[in-house]
Amino acid sequence: MNNSFNSGNVPKENTAIYKDLRLSIQSWVAPSVLVITSPTVTKLFQKMSTTTGNSFTDILNQYVNDKRESYYELNELKLNFITLQHLEPASFTQSITDTSTSVDAMATDEYCSNFKIRTKQDVPYFHKVCQDPTPWFEKYRHHYLKSCHSPELETFSHPIAVMLIVSSEDSNPIGLLVKMFDSAKPPAIFQQYNADANIPKIYILVHPENSEVESERRLSEMKNTFGATNSYLLRISPKEDDGGLTYEPSTANNSNPLYTIVSDLTMKHIPNFIEKSILELNDTIVANKKSFFSKMKLRIGYKKNEDEATSAVSVESCQRRLSDLYFLLQDYENALSNYKTLLKEFSAEKTPNHYAATYEMIGICNFMLNKETESQFETAINNYTRSGLNAASVRAAMIQGEILKRKSSYKLLADLYKSIAEREIDPFCAAVLLEQAGFCLLQYPAPSFRKACMRLVLAGDKYAEASKRKHALRCYGFSYGVYEGRDWNYIDDHLHLALVRYSFFQGHTSDSILFVNKLLEKNCQSFQSQNSIIREFLFISKSTAKDNYIGELPLPLINNDRTQVFLSDYSTELNQLVWQEMEEAFKKEASIITKPVLQGFDLWRKDQFQEAEKERTIVVEEPITVECEIRNPLQVPLQFNRVHLVATFKNSQTQEEESNMSPLDDDALAAMDNGQTPFKVESIDLLLGPSETKKLVLSIIPLKQGQLIIKGLGLCMCGSVWGKRQFNLKQKRLNKTRQQRESVVYEPNLTLTFSVTSPMPRLETQFIEFPAALSHGEMKQAKLQLKNCSNKMGLKNVRVRLSHPTLCCFGSNNNDASILSTLDSSILLNIELPPGATVTVPLWVRGLVVGRYNLRCLVYYESEAGNSDLKYRLARCQTDFDVKASLRISTFSQQSSTNLNNYLLGIEVDNPIIGGGGDVFYLKQISSISQHWKITPLSYKEDVPNNSILTLHPGQFTNLFFGISPTAEQQQNVNQQQQQQQQLAITNISFDKNEPMYDSSSFPVFQFLEYEKMSHHDYFQGALSMGGAAPGGSGGHNSNHMTASNVGTANSNIQSSRESLSLKSPISSEFTLGEHQNLLDLMLFWESVPSSPSQKLVPTTSSTTAPTSTTLANTIATIPSTGGKPTPRMGVLNATSISFLPTHFNDTTLATPWGSWRNTTSPTGKSLMYVDPSLRFQAPLRHQLQSPLSIQHDFQKNSICTTPLKLQLSNCSPTHTLQLCIDTLLPHENLDVTSQLTSQYFWTGITRYNIELAPLQSQELPLSVCFLRAGTYNINRYKINIKINNSEFSKDIYSTVQHLIDVEDSE
């Protein structure tokens, strides 16, 4: 049929009706025509209405709406065709509800797409883009006005005519027509509302189209009975859906039977009736107005004779009816004056409803006449409210609202709508009004957008109450912008909950889940509400999720900072940083890093050479362990089943991606067990109590080669919904290039990205038999166990790095020792491990510095088969031990006065009470190692006189003195070719002749000495750069030359240089350059029995061999055989780099000034020096007078005794040239006067020399002294002026050592 009449779609041109309130009022205030149909006709039209949806009254209304005919000065006379049902009070609420559905089609999802008000500044823009956010309001108002009637107060709904329709199929149509409406006995509803029943009647017979003769006969019959003007015949064609009654403007009007009926009605019947009624009513009013008395009588009479209501109508209702009729005829002036007259009859106190209704009509009349309405509507609304007529007050408010809107008084309008909406009215109506109130608030010059949003939220609540979900969601969604992210917890919760529900109901599942997440993010709800939220969430997710998997879950919270990844190479270790340095060093060693060396201008663009961080390489079939912390933020316990790691796997060849972002149900588990997945995960079940935090350790095993990215946790929430929680690790913000600076770019965090490579061997390492405690200097043996855990692959190229490289020596003897060459290099162990093999590497530990140690060992190894992705792997192990204090050594050196090239060495050994272990120590042996020097005991000659000086109880000191003298071959045989080789003189002095000596040049004693020196390397580094480049003065580097002299007592074994030949100093050549001749290393060997100090220590040696010097390794190895007794301990204290030559302060290689004490074995490892400030300037010069000690001279014969002397001068510095000026001094010169008398000698011959001494050069100067008489003379009277390297600065030196000559008179 014709589209324009499908009731659902509102034709566009009709919206104009809704916009104009005037038209709405006119369509509301229109004459009502009552339509009464016989049951047959009702059935007939019902049948038709099921197909078109139009009831008969609808069809009739169509005829009315489009009338263009002007009549009786009316703009457009409309008729409202109603049925009896319309007059029932119950129908009113129904029609209100119908009205709300009529605007459903206009409901929108958003007021304005993709726009939300967040701040005040958004409001003007909103007005710009969205001028009419609520287009349905006017339509709703139109329908509301039309359907809202109160027949007891107003007469607009009282029928003005009645249409009686029967069908020819009824048994007695005429009789039925008579019975259907009897003016004398009208339906009860007429009496109830005091309506006039004497209204024109129109009789219609419905007849089928086909039998024309029959119908004409019936019509004439009707005309006879009811009169010709009142009888009509309606022919219908049963074939057509609506019986051919539908109004079609295009066709000729006459052709349709209804046209005639309706136009007769509007042209003849109704005008006639209205005219008659107005006359009658005027008469009645005038008659009743004559006296006050009659008025009263009438009223009383009305009350008394309620049965005769039709005849005894009150004057008020007559007046009202009259006014309404004028209004119907759109004669607003007359109506207004009548209403005003009527108003006088009512009072606000007694009859507020009538009072209000009249006031409303006055207001409407004024509005229609474009006059000021003043406060008429307010009065009407207030009185309606007082009398409980809320629906009517809404109507008045709507009209008032329009008036206020025209005046742009939005503030009043907003308040009006809001106050009306808060009454007890239809929720949909309240919602519409609140929504209007909200938008009115936005219209202020200074918009109260927060208040507006609050109104919208309330509107949303009301819409929800009226179950208009689309409207509700729109309201909530719009106002959410104002509150979002501002911490208004209660409001947020309220909105979130609403948004969750209505998004879900509207099918916006993703939004719904988003809001659930937000809802649960903030934990400020009560226990109960959280419980229901969770349940709602589960329900929503379950009913919407595809394959029971919803993707990202809102819970639990993951503490991303605490997420850690452990590979199988590593044990659980918290301080990764400690290992990192060693790992980096291995990386460098394996030349994995190929960082370009940048120079010059490239430095400016060094950012471009930045090496991109790579993902870690892991080995297939080895588990990755992820430790993470999850938290339940809620106050309700949450159950999570099968928590596992979620990962994606990318096959490197096929580029196919697989992931396990799907429920890990039993099928998935089975598939995983069968190896159908590229990786395997383990799962755990857990229950998180309220606010509980739990640490999870989960593992994943890659089964194929490719790229594996761990994404997060997969879990089943509360046993019903599967989903995941993604890890969100911290990413570095990139800020290097301009592009990065201009935008926000993050570096990808590759912690959870792995490239899976082919199988590799896996090494496990462990320290065994490692001592828990050591004394300072003590040496003990331990082992490092290496186990290849792989049963397929062998491994090779094992290297070791230690956190304290100087504490351990790998190996058991000189031949298999693995020695460190520099402190930052690694130790190569010559080991290859076949699959499954275990190897134990012996090693020595020495307590170097007192303290507590955590010795970490990082082992590097490569696969035998080789692997291009993963060149090497690392294994870790660690152990803790203590180093306790033992002995302390201080050394002291001084020039010998007897020999220019000899020096004194004092050693003070101290067993401290404070800081010491309380043990008794026995000194066993002292050894010196130097290139050029040897030591000889001075404290005793043959044997140690008293053993007690070698036994140190706590708190005891002992002093030992030695002489330092050059080895025989010093300064000989400079062999340039073998300069690299070391020439070391080793002196071993044993304190106990009965015991074998320790070999101080063998493993590991010597290595530890070297290590200790290396640990002081940094200390020397600076010196190297200054003085190290002058090797010229150093003695001959005779290759492999090693003099070892054992100044033991009984058997002074001259050690052959057999082992020493192979003994290479591991110290780099660079360092040996710094080896100065002025250096001596001392080793003091001690033994101790820890718990029983009284026990005599008897180190047993192997009896088969002659008591030769044994290596330490052998000695110690045999000690445990004593069995039962506490293991004796031994240790070596090294006093390294003792310098003793007089030195120049500038000569930093010889930093220690001569003649000072040095605490060489401080337990803290620091060298303490006590420097006499007067010794700051020292010249590297030794000088000595050589003369006979006594002279026989005959003074009688020759009164002058002239004696030749020699002044020996030696430049000790290997680098500096000395300019010397030697002056002899008179005995009294620079001395006091009295001494002149006693010193009777003077110098003869050359008394001044100017010489230059090259580095390490010695010279003898001849001097002559004259004595005049016998006596003992101190002839140390000379002055040496020294300049170093021809510098400006010079200094005078005087001899401080007496040189006495005894001159005897040999008379």
Binding site: S448, F449, W488, Y490
Partner: protein
Amino acid sequence: MKKIVCVAVVGKANDPLYFQDFSGGTEENRLKLHYIVHCSLDIIEDKPGVKKVSNDMYLGLLYPTEDYKVYGFLTNTKIKFIIVVLDTTDIKDSDIKVLHLRYVRTASNPFYKANKKIESKIFQNDVAAIVQSL
């Protein structure tokens, strides 16, 4: 029934720093108070800019609702103090200044981060004491 129904401190960015409901009402009522306090921000914003005489920060009655009256106080650092009282009573500016003083004391704590939620127990007790005393 106490006079003061609710005390709120709202930060510079219009986020609640402190909110305490003294009405002892239902959750629904508390929600309503949240809305009331939130809406009062509209009015505070509309008040003619920062006053020239900066020592008077009291804004007076912001607006009356059906059951309540809302009073405001705006500091120079845009911290808002909003007090909701029962319709039948009113408060003096000195009352709200006491509250401001307490806030200043709390904010002076070096551990308090400016424009963050006030979690100080002392402040809570102080506010409760003020409410009791009125």
